[in-house]
Symmetry: C2
Subunit: 200 residues, 2 copies
């Protein structure tokens, strides 16, 4: 695997207490992992926060995926949040199989740039708007029965143009909006916002 550059421009580290807010509004994520000189990336709409601090996450990783073996072997995985301008990338890595019996290294095959955060060797997807570096919390029973993987977030970063003061603010950056997959590559995009208030 090629050497990876460091954090890109606009990428700011997040306080751990704000990490859940990256996933709170339900974006689709890219799950990536590396082990033994191999790496892969896949799309997952089934991911959510699991705790505030230390932040934890849950994500469903099917048995058929090449990524799953890399997660189990390395005990590490990353969630990168793709944006509207990356809809084709998200669709493509979600509809192809990596590894030797698939398209090989999807990063190489599709020209997807990766960078390294604080976890050595863990590839984060460049051009995304949020990144969570996770340590697997082994729960073999639910991994096997439900394909459900839990992780503790050890570091997280966000694109400071659209995530600041603990809030997503997409105004003026439509191509940086998070993707919310419905089905078949059809993604909804957040736009307006509403503020809830207490009922009497």
């Amino acid at each position: 695997m090629p050497a990876m550059p460091d954090l890109p421009d606009h990428c700011a580290p997040l306080p751990l207490a704000h990490v859940y807010r990256l996933l709170n509004h339900g974006p689709t994520v890219l799950v990536s992992a590396a082990h033994g000189g191999q790496r892969n990336v896949m799309a997952a709409a089934w991911a959510m926060p699991l705790d505030f601090e230390p932040p934890k996450v849950a994500v469903v990783i099917d048995k058929s995926t090449f990524t799953r073996g890399l997660v189990e072997a390395s005990g590490r995985f990353a969630l990168s949040l793709p944006c509207a301008g990356q809809a084709d990338l998200a669709f493509t890595v979600g509809h192809t199989h990596g590894g030797a019996d698939g398209v090989g290294d999807k990063f190489t095959r599709y020209g997807i740039a990766a960078f390294e955060g604080t976890t050595p060797g863990l590839p984060l997807v460049a051009g995304c708007v949020g990144w969570l570096e996770c340590r697997l919390l082994p729960e073999p029973q639910v991994q096997q029965a439900y394909d459900l993987f839990l992780g503790e977030v050890v570091a997280a970063h966000a694109d400071a143009r659209v995530f600041a003061q603990g809030r997503w603010q997409f105004d003026g950056h439509p191509a940086l909006r998070t993707l919310h997959h419905v089905a078949g590559g059809h993604f909804l995009l957040p736009q307006d916002a509403v503020q809830g208030r207490m009922l009497d």
Copy 2:
């Protein structure tokens, strides 16, 4: 508890194979349950699909909630998907504690109408745009360690004005858009959509 009416207008049953699409784009949900003459409803941004068919879901329900005891005692829970016009309702049930040491029955206290689907006595929140009736899949270890509850969806319904042919279509119905909580009652709303295509 008062007797509950049947399914409201616009509410159409969903084929089980389409149920995951209610949650796939990451909406905030209302979790409700009833047992022994008591009922409650709370908000949860931490919910996701867990399987296609039979459809399963995962949701985080904190130990401090009154709802959790009702879920554990009855083995049933419902997820209702609130819409933009219900932002105050979603915020309110997410920031109040039900039961005798809280505000009591939140449905009564805040004038929230409920109806009954196919699960006797399980309250679904009227005015929402999607509903999933779930049977708890007991996993005591993860319930205790992570507040994580898994369920199999036994029936689901959606507002046919905004969910048809297995897709959300909010055009012309801005008040019926799903809510996506960021923090502090600030909800993002889906608007535009983008179609991903395969990269070369």
